[in-house]
């Protein structure tokens, strides 16, 4: 199953290589990864979605903890979390489909952020399923380009 790990790491050059290298050499599969500085500029937070059973995730967690650059690893999979992805999607539009596309974007609470003669660029945030659903719905109109951030997640618990 897919697990979502929140990994706090040093905000230094080379840290991403250390983490990614660990996954590669131990043959763990990263299905998505997003990383950015936290409220503390010395620390970055990686949200890593990784495939594996409990034993694999236990090993991943332990191996990550061994890296000197890793401060903390939390498995958010079984916790109450808010998780989001951001997607930017360019769609082909014709005069006759324009309205339909706009309505669909509206239903999914997306926004048109750029507009050309024959295409829109849509911004959409939401969990993975929502973005998948939108992409499925919009694809028949002509999906030109799609970029997704990968999941970020934060615990709902007040700790």
């Amino acid at each position: 199953m897919l697990h979502t790990l929140a990994v706090l790491v040093d905000n230094n050059p080379g840290v991403l290589t250390r983490v990614a290298g660990l996954f590669a050499r131990r043959a763990y599969n990263i299905s998505s990864l997003s990383v950015c500085q936290t409220e503390n500029p010395a620390i970055s937070r990686m949200t890593i979605v990784v495939e594996g059973d409990d034993q694999v995730i236990e090993q991943v967690t332990k191996q990550l903890n061994k890296l000197v650059v890793v401060h903390k690893v939390s498995d958010l999979t079984r916790e109450a979390v808010v998780d989001r992805e951001l997607a930017l999607i360019r769609i082909k539009v014709k005069s006759e489909t324009r309205l339909e596309v706009l309505q669909t974007v509206d239903i999914f609470r997306g926004r048109v952020v750029d507009m050309g003669k024959s295409n829109f660029t849509i911004e959409l945030t939401g969990d993975e399923e929502k973005i998948d659903a939108f992409v499925r719905t919009i694809r028949p109109y002509g999906l030109l380009e799609l970029v997704r951030t990968g999941k970020i997640a934060i615990s709902r618990l007040d700790t």
Binding site: R18, G21, V68, V69, H71
Partner: protein, 568 residues
């Protein structure tokens, strides 16, 4: 005049980065470095002239790193090696991997091209921190003079604590040349994200003691962790008090003295029959400082000690549950955990178990090869008899290594120096050099083969240059024996690329370097030759001509469980 002198005294003398680096090493208690000079480390070599640290110059960087590794294995202190950028650094890679696999504390310093040339494919530039990422415990690229002291402090701390390992410091040449002022007060390690365990969880240790009191068929499975933590005395006390049988890994050799009645020998691929049967049949496996390596389990963790409750004691939490599930995991230092366990232990009733074990031992002694021809076993026995209890044995990798593991009577820890995890041919001679520097007054044997020795043979010059009286026991069969053995047993004797044709005359080689060479071809000559080598003041190479048909037995064939042994 007076006044100006005073002012000068109060000011801190500016130092170059190279000087700061060496001073930081002195601060860490380093008194020997194994290294090889080059362009990027010129400033360090210049500063070394005025530095109390002794520098040893071998003939290849790979020797420098193996020697530093063996220095650590024998002394227990982190070994230090030094090389230049580019090829100097890449020549260290095998040695770093060797130390990493066996959890050896080591600090490696490499020079790097000047900061402004980084990333431009400049002369002798290589991304050595990138290359060594999977084989170092941690690494640093130092691009700022201000970071040198802290980096050295952290590197030694990380290398030597928790589960030890090699730490690499790559320093750019401009930083080595920068002159600046440094803090006089000692630097403190402040690594919030680095943590390690030492004391085991008392509740878990209580559980272990309970399981031990209730078991009927216990066995201790002891590994390199015993040696790293110096737990051999406590282990022996525990084993004697509870009358437990013990098996060891290759890395655990020396954790119990050879010949101790409770020691059943090595377990695994070339383990003794009794050791493998005992582990297979036990109801309680007390695993201490081991990682259930595939050379022990045959790569079949799920079919290893299947009847047993497993207590797994290890300082590295990631080792627990990696290969086998542990019923009672204890994360901590072997010495501290075993001490606590010793205080709580109630000896179980094991007389029936011992009867069974003695029966296995009686039916399956280590093979007596006979006395009618020159055998490796006979050589190792004579070495043990004549070399005494304090001798250090370094080995290379191959058949001779396994024979040494099986037959050499190692008395205690830090005496049997071998590349266990990586199995690095060419390790032996450099390791013997490092061992002799760590134990200048001890007799050091190198057990090698004609394949392995030729991977580091240039180091015979180093023996002579530093007057290292190492006794080289060369088991010379003219083939790559262990590969030949595998091809004989499992490839229907289809021998492929194992013949070392045109081997040199090793006596002439020894002679050319100024080393005493002795050739032995028959059993009658063994004792005299080894005695002569021991009595001789300098290095000696004894070329023992053995048959290519000598094989290492017993053996668990690949893919078989450990009780399915050949040659029992």
């Amino acid at each position: 005049m007076e006044e100006s002198a005073n002012i000068k005294c109060e000011n801190i003398e500016p130092k170059t980065g190279a000087r700061v680096l060496l001073d930081a090493l002195v601060e860490e208690g380093v008194n020997i470095i194994f290294g090889y000079p080059g362009g990027a480390v010129l400033p360090i070599y210049d500063a070394l002239i005025d530095c109390p640290i002794r520098h040893v110059l071998p003939r290849h960087e790979q020797t420098a790193v193996h020697a530093a590794d063996a220095y650590a294995r024998v002394s227990g202190k982190p070994g230090v090696c030094l090389a230049t950028s580019g090829p100097g650094a890449t020549n260290l890679v095998t040695g770093i991997a060797t130390a990493y696999m066996d959890s050896i504390p080591m600090v490696i310093v490499t020079g790097q091209v000047p900061t402004n040339l980084l990333g431009t494919d400049s002369f002798q530039e290589v991304d050595i921190t990138g290359i060594t990422l999977p084989i170092t415990k941690h690494s640093y690229l130092v691009k700022d003079f201000k970071d040198i002291q802290r980096t050295v402090k952290e590197a030694f701390h990380i290398a030597a604590t928790g589960r030890p390992g090699p730490v690499l410091i790559d320093i750019t040449k401009d930083v080595l040349l920068t002159a600046g002022e440094v803090k006089a007060q000692p630097v403190k390690v402040d690594l919030k994200s680095y943590k390690y365990f030492s004391k085991g969880n008392s509740g878990q240790i209580e559980e272990a003691a309970k399981a031990l009191a209730e078991c009927q068929k216990a066995v201790v499975y002891a590994g390199g962790g015993i040696i790293t933590s110096g737990a051999q005395v406590v282990l022996r006390e525990l084993v004697e008090r509870a009358n437990l049988p013990v098996v060891t890994t290759l890395m655990g050799i020396g954790s119990m003295p050879y010949g101790h009645p409770n020691l059943l020998g090595m377990v695994g691929m070339h383990g003794t029959v009794a050791a493998n049967y005992t582990v297979d049949d036990c109801d309680l496996l007390i695993a201490v400082g081991v990682r259930f390596d595939d050379r022990v389990t045959s790569g079949l963790g799920h079919r290893f000690a299947t009847k047993a409750k497993i207590i797994h004691i290890d300082i590295d939490p990631a080792e627990i549950g990696k290969v086998v599930r542990a019923n009672i995991p204890i994360v901590g230092d072997a010495l501290l955990v075993l001490k606590e366990l010793l205080n709580k232990v109630k000896p179980p009733e094991l007389s029936k178990w011992w009867e069974q074990i003695h029966e296995w031992q009686k039916q399956n002694p280590l093979l007596d090869q006979g006395r009618d021809r020159l055998t490796p076993q006979m050589i190792l026995e004579v070495m043990g008899e004549l070399g005494g209890k304090d001798a250090v044995v370094a080995t290379d990798v191959g058949q001779h290594q396994m024979w040494a593991a099986q037959y050499y009577p190692t008395s205690t820890i830090r005496q049997f120096i071998t590349s266990g995890g990586l199995g690095t041919m060419g390790f032996g001679l450099p390791a013997a050099i490092g061992a002799q520097f760590a134990a200048p007054d001890k007799l050091v044997f190198l057990v090698s083969g004609d394949g392995s020795l030729q991977m580091s043979i240039q180091e015979l010059a180093t023996l002579v240059q530093y007057k290292l009286p190492i006794k080289i026991i060369l088991m010379d069969n003219g083939v790559l024996g262990l590969v030949r053995q595998l091809q004989r047993l499992f490839c229907e004797e289809r021998y492929s690329q194992i013949q070392l044709n045109n081997n040199p005359d090793f006596i002439k080689i020894a002679d050319a370097y100024g080393i005493l060479g002795i050739r032995v071809t028959s059993p009658e000559e063994v004792s005299d030759a080894i005695q002569k080598a021991i009595d001789y003041q300098g290095p000696v190479l004894i070329d023992f001509i053995i048959s290519p048909d000598e094989i290492v037995l017993p053996m668990v064939p690949p893919g078989k469980v450990i009780t399915e042994m050949v040659g029992r």
